[in-house]
Every structure is written in C-alpha cells, then in structure tokens.
Symmetry: C2
Subunit: 448 residues, 2 copies
C-alpha cells in the first residue's frame, strides 16, 4: 500500500490522535456510535442531496498508517511508543449505515452512522466530515442549477475555480450525480466514467491571425465542434461560423456556437435568428459566463433560445452557500446514549433512523426516531459496511446513485424542489420515544 | 513515475487537449506568453496575497502523461494516434516568471507569466488557475483573520469543512503563509513542516461518565493540554478545570481552556476572572465557534481576554469571497502581442512587468508596464523556472515565503491593510507604452 495523498490516515485533526491515545491509555475502546448530520439548511436552500458516502467507504477500506506516517508522528514527541505500535496495526473494523447517495436530506437527519470501537470511529471524523461536506454542498448547489436549466444540458466547467484538485473532481462527480450531462475535467472523466465535454478557448482564436481560419482548422479536426464566437465581435463571429458551415457542407462538423460574454439573452436571440435565417436550425446555442441557477432561470424566463449551459465558478464553489454545518457527533458509547448541552447545540442521544413518508409518490414528511423503532415510511439508513467490508448496498455505482437522485428530486414537493424559499419548510419531526430519551438523559445530567 | 492524483496531466479541461491537437495539426507551436491575473477584487477586499506558485512549479517539473492516461484518451475516439504519440513524450520545457509567494497583489497585475511553446503553455491552464486560485483565495482570507487577531495566536481548525482534501492542505499552508501559528491537520504538518495543534472534542468528554475524569485522564497524558470546558455548562467546566490544576499541582499540564459555544465574549471574561481568582493567570483562554475576522475584531474591541483563536469553516471556505476571477490569458504568440475585445473583458497585449513604488518603506502605488520597460520601483515578476527547471528564485521554502508575506503586509498602507473597504483603493496604473500598444492593436483589429 503506497501513500495516497487523497486517502491518508494523517488526514485527521491532531486531537483525534491525542484522544485516541487517551482512550487507549484509559482502556476505553468500547463500541461507539457517531452520527453525521447537518443542523440547519443554508439560507435559500430547501433541501440537500447527500453525497460522498462512496468516497468515505473507499477510505475506510484502505485505512492504515504507513511507516512514513508513524515516523512523522514519532518525531512530534507527543505519543508513546506503545500507542504508535497500536495504530501501526489499526484498520477500520466497524459498521457503517448511510442513506444512499443522491438521497434528499434535511436538518438533523443522520446521513452516515458509524458503529465501531471508539478509537476507530473517532479517528475518521475529519475525513468523514470533509468528504460528506464538500460533496453534499456541491451536489446541493448543482441540483439547483440543473433544476433551473429545466431539461437543457448542463456541463460542469468549473475545474479551474473549484477549491483545489480534489474539489474539482468532486464537483464534477456531484454535478453529474444530480443530473448534469458531464464535465470538462478529463481526470474526472477517467476517474468516474463521466462524459467529458469541451469547446475552445479565446486563446486559440487569438493565437490565429484570423478568427475564421481558427474556426475552420478546429472544425476540420473534430466532429461536433462548438465554436467560440465572442473573442472580438459576437455577431461577426456568428456570421463567420455560418460561412464555415456552408463552406464545409457537413452537418456533423459544427454542432453549436458558444457565447461567453456580453448580454447573453440578447446575443442568443440574435444568434438564433441569424442561424435560422441561414437554415442552420440544427446548430445549437451553448452559453457560459458566470452562470448560476438564478441567471439560468432568468435567461429562460426571458425566452432566450439556449440549448445548453457551461456552468463554472459559482456552481463549483457553491458561492451563495459554500458551507454546511455538518457535524459528526457521539450519540452512544458502551451501549448508553450520550448528549451534549452546549447552548443552541442540542444533540439527541442514541442510534437513530429516519422514516420518510410518501403520498401518491411524493414525499410528505420525515420522522427521526430511535433506530429500533418501527414507524411508518421508508427507512433511509441502510447498512453499507459491516466489519470493515462493504455490503451490497455499499457497492452502488455512480449511475445507480444518479438514478436514485433523479427519483428523489422528482418525489420532492414542488415548493421544496423550486429555487425559492419554501414556507412552510419540508416537515421533519422527532419521534416521541427519541424525545423522551433526550428528556430522561437531560434530567439525569442535571441531577449529576 | 506513478500516477499522483494531485499532479495529474489529465487535470485539464478537455478543450486544452483538443486545442493542443489542433495546434499540432496546424504546425502551430511557436512561443506563447500567457499571464495569470485577476480582474477585480471581491467586495470588501483591498488586496490579495499571491500563493500557489510553488505547487505550480512542482506540477510543471513532473508533468507527463502516463500510459494509463494515454490509454484513457485513446478510448475517447477523439484524438489521432499521431497526437497521442506526441503527448506521450510531452514535458514542460518553458520559462515561468512569478511574484514571490506571499506578495501582495492587485487587479490586472500578472501573478504568473508562462513563456513556452503554445501547446505546453495551453495544456497547463486548468491546473495553474486551480492552484493559484485556491491558494490565493485562502491566503487572502486568512490574512484578514490574522490581522484581526492583532498578534494573538491563530490556528487553522478548518480541515473538516474545507472543500476536499486538497483544499484542507492548502488552507493550512495558506494560513500559515500569512501568519497563522499552525494547523490542526496532521497531514499538513507532515507535508509542509507546519506546527500542529490540538485540544479535545466534545465526544471525548461525552464518552466519559464524568467531565472531571475526562479532563484528568487527558491532562495526565499530555503536557500543555487545552481543556474543552463547554460540553455541559461552561462555568462548571471552568471550575472543574481549576480543580484539576490544583490537584495536579503542575503548571505545565493545563495550558489553556477552550470555549466553543455560547456568548464567547462574556464567557471569556467570566472564565478569566475565575482563573485569576484561583491564581491561574498562566492558564490561557482559547476560543473557537464559527469565527471569522469580523467576530474576532468585535471580541477584541469589546475587551474579551482571549489569547488564541481556532478558526475553521469561514476562513477555509473564504465564505464572504469564495472565488476570485483569476484568468490565464494569451498575451503574445510568435513574438506578437494578442488582445481580445469581448465586452467588459479588456486584455492588454504582450509580456508585462509590475513596478511597485515605495516611500519610507510603505507601498505607494504600482504601474503595470511592458516587461522590457525600465520604470521606477521594484520589479515584482522574477524568473522562477527556465527551460522547465526551477531557478534559485523558484526554490523558496515556506518559511521564507512566510517572512516575505510578513514584510509585504507590514509595508501596506494602513487603510489597505485594514478590514474595511479602502477608499480610494490602492493605486495601480498602466504605463503609457502598454496603453499605446493596446490602442495600436485595437486599431489594427478594427481595420481587419
């Protein structure tokens, strides 16, 4: 096993390791249950789409400290040799329950539940939150963009502005998960089997002395070319594109024109008119340029004749809601429920399950209860890993997860699916038994 | 050379590869100059701190397509065998000029300038922007947090909420670059030689039946422990911490208490008073809980007796400005300046240099000119790579870059350094010769 920087055991906050040594020294390594969830939706969001579970399972399957890791830790002069020997052999041996990727989730619903000896369960916190957070944040933004595009093609063009290499990969995956057609990022295509798309850059046009020469050279080489027409003057660019299609006389060479600046709605209408007048109804209009779900909705509401959207920066950094308050909390240790009474941060004790109710194929409300309750509705948490190995439910490929996301989004109440704030919000309740477990523990804690 | 996912040649937008094939087919591989810069500052920011250059040079030094990459590309049925053979041998052979990491930069000032055969220079665009973007965005946010803390300790606690593994590493590095004391992320400590810090989590307290027992077990194991006191009742937690210090009778065991919820300012004052009354003036107060530069400035303006800040989410996603409009633009090909006339996106042609003027050790204004002009002031762009190999100026370690950032920030005009909007902004002008180069090319373009 070589050191994979994207799946390192050292991708952990220092306190996870010092707590691990403390647990070890205290001979406290009983079974713990941690739950990963978010507490509240970002302003303007009505739901989130869970993503990142597959990546977490991949991490857990290969979790180990390399000799290099151990030697770095030894050099910190903080850990005992006994503890370093202990973690040299550490592997993840626990069970994991999770909602299927692509599932719609709401505040306080466990997305992932880890049942493992406390040292293992604690150590994985940083990576678990990091990956569930970034992928859920990005999927929950991308789903809004796909919704706004109302069936038109959406392609992730954001790799250059995503926060680092890993985020760019995860943005491509997360947007594909929720219905984007693909990505411009070749590595994501290779890694996840996602379709890859591309047009041309302004620099390519600029490097040629003549825009028309650049168009022709490119189109002769690649079928289904999308010509970038706005380097100098968009309407002139469209006219040159029309001239080229006529000259080539081949319907397969030029598939679309791309507009990347200016007043996109007006330019799209003018371009469509020029193309139609030239009998080029089959040449599509693809647009980019600082798009997000609001711009797309406005363009389409204004009747702009656009066939596809290349969406970058604002989607892949989730600019209006770049973070989600995802936490990973101990809810049970050694068979007993645990709570926390910090102000404004209430935690319900014990292992939970979310029960989702449907009516006529639409979601009508969720109840978070104890994991051993039998309430009406579909149970969202499924066992995805047992004793450190994936179950069948833990081996869901991206296409299946994408189909799940599509079903989930279709089943949302219309007011929750839409871009505007849903009032009232989607109802999520707590079961009577879970509430009484909290009350009992609180009384006990206050007496102690 | 194995496939390192953080430095893959396939971390590129598809169009970079199709353009490369087009250039190759057209026998167009003359020297190109690309410049990387941002066009405008995010609202509320007065300057940025350049970061990510070292990572780009590392990428360029090892750039290659693996057999696996070639075979994936072949499977796309898009590229000719001739082209795939060509890129199998591709290495980066160009020159790179850049500002030293930690340098303060303003709109339209080149941060990186790549001089290379156009195919190589074009191919690296996606990675170059991605890394310069994320690191510059994060450094430019972190410097505000460090400024607000006014000399008190700042530690990066954000790994779990940074956008993926790479962003977490880069957030740790970027915040250290601009003056944070270190990070909680162990992998960043190993990778960059950054000091690592940690306290304890609520889960550790919760797993014990008694908070005081948890405190004692941890403090006996680790010197300089920071006790997390807010799991149940903060003031009770402080009293238990005081009891423990008295019991242990060892000044080195408990270094600080940490407040992570509630009204931090009031709790810090109450805690300080209790600690002082107990004669524990040496026990510090460390706070966390959704901090950013504004909260920190307010806490300190209100006189809160705080010694250090653990800063997470808001800093590491740069929540108020999660992106910067960094671009990478062709400015010269085959010895001739290139421009672009897209609406609202003016591009000055040709290789440039930024000349920074100082008065009494303070920066007073910058001029962006032609690279071969001799203007007054310090030239910001330095050669960091020649013929694909780092120069001495390209081998600056993180400690040197951190010292550079410290000097740069100290040399800023006070109004620019502070958290509020600077009006007028820091002056950045364009030299007469550069302006006339643009005018000449525009006239030529409009005539053509």
């Amino acid at each position: 096993m070589h050191d994979d920087p994207l799946h390192s055991a050292l991708f952990t906050d220092l306190y996870e390791l010092t707590m691990a040594e403390a647990y070890d020294a205290e001979a406290m390594n009983k079974q713990a249950v941690f739950e990963l969830f978010f507490r509240k939706l970002p302003a303007g969001r009505n739901f989130c789409v869970a993503a990142g579970i597959d990546e977490l399972l991949t991490y857990l399957e290969s979790l180990h400290f390399s000799e290099d890791d151990i030697s770095y830790l030894k050099g910190r002069m903080l850990f005992s040799d006994r503890f370093l020997e202990r973690i040299r052999k550490l592997r993840f041996t626990g069970d994991v329950y999770a909602v299927p990727e692509g599932t719609v989730v709401f505040p306080n619903e466990p997305i992932v539940q880890v049942v493992a000896p406390v040292i293992e369960a604690q150590l994985i916190e940083t990576f678990a939150i990091n990956q569930l957070h970034v992928q859920t944040v990005l999927a929950s933004k991308a789903v809004r963009v796909v919704t706004a595009a109302a069936g038109r093609t959406v392609v992730d063009f954001g790799s250059r502005r995503a926060h680092g290499v890993d985020a760019a990969l995860k943005a491509a995956r997360a947007s594909y998960l929720v219905g984007a057609a693909g990505t411009s990022l070749v590595l994501a295509g290779k890694q996840y089997g996602i379709p890859i798309f591309g047009t041309m850059a302004h620099s390519y046009i600029q490097a040629h002395d003549d825009e028309a020469v650049a168009f022709e050279a490119f189109a002769r080489l690649f079928p289904e070319t999308t010509l970038l027409v706005d380097t100098y003057d968009t309407i002139q660019g469209i006219r040159k594109a029309i001239g080229l299609v006529r000259k080539l006389g081949d319907r397969t060479r030029v598939r679309a024109v791309r507009l990347d600046s200016g007043d996109i709605g007006t330019l799209a209408r003018q371009s469509r008119q020029l193309l139609d007048e030239a009998g080029l109804q089959h040449v599509q209009i693809f647009v980019s340029s600082e798009l997000d779900e609001r711009c797309i909705a406005e363009l389409l509401a204004g009747g702009a004749p656009i066939d596809g959207f290349g969406v970058g920066t604002r989607m892949v950094v989730s600019d209006d809601a770049p973070h989600l308050d995802i936490v990973y909390k101990l809810v049970e240790y050694d068979g007993r429920g645990r709570i926390k009474l910090s102000p404004r941060k209430v935690l319900y004790p014990g292992r939970k399950q979310t029960f989702r109710q449907y009516q006529d194929g639409r979601m009508i409300g969720d109840i978070v209860g104890r994991h051993d309750e039998k309430l009406a509705g579909t149970s969202l948490l499924q066992p995805v890993m047992v004793n450190g190995r994936r179950t069948a439910a833990g081996r869901v490929d991206l296409e299946e997860a994408r189909a799940n996301a599509k079903r989930e989004i279709a089943a949302l109440p219309d007011a929750v699916r839409c871009l505007d704030h849903a009032d009232p919000p989607y109802p999520v309740g707590v079961s009577d038994r879970l509430q009484s477990d909290l009350n009992d523990l609180r009384m006990k804690q206050e007496r102690s």
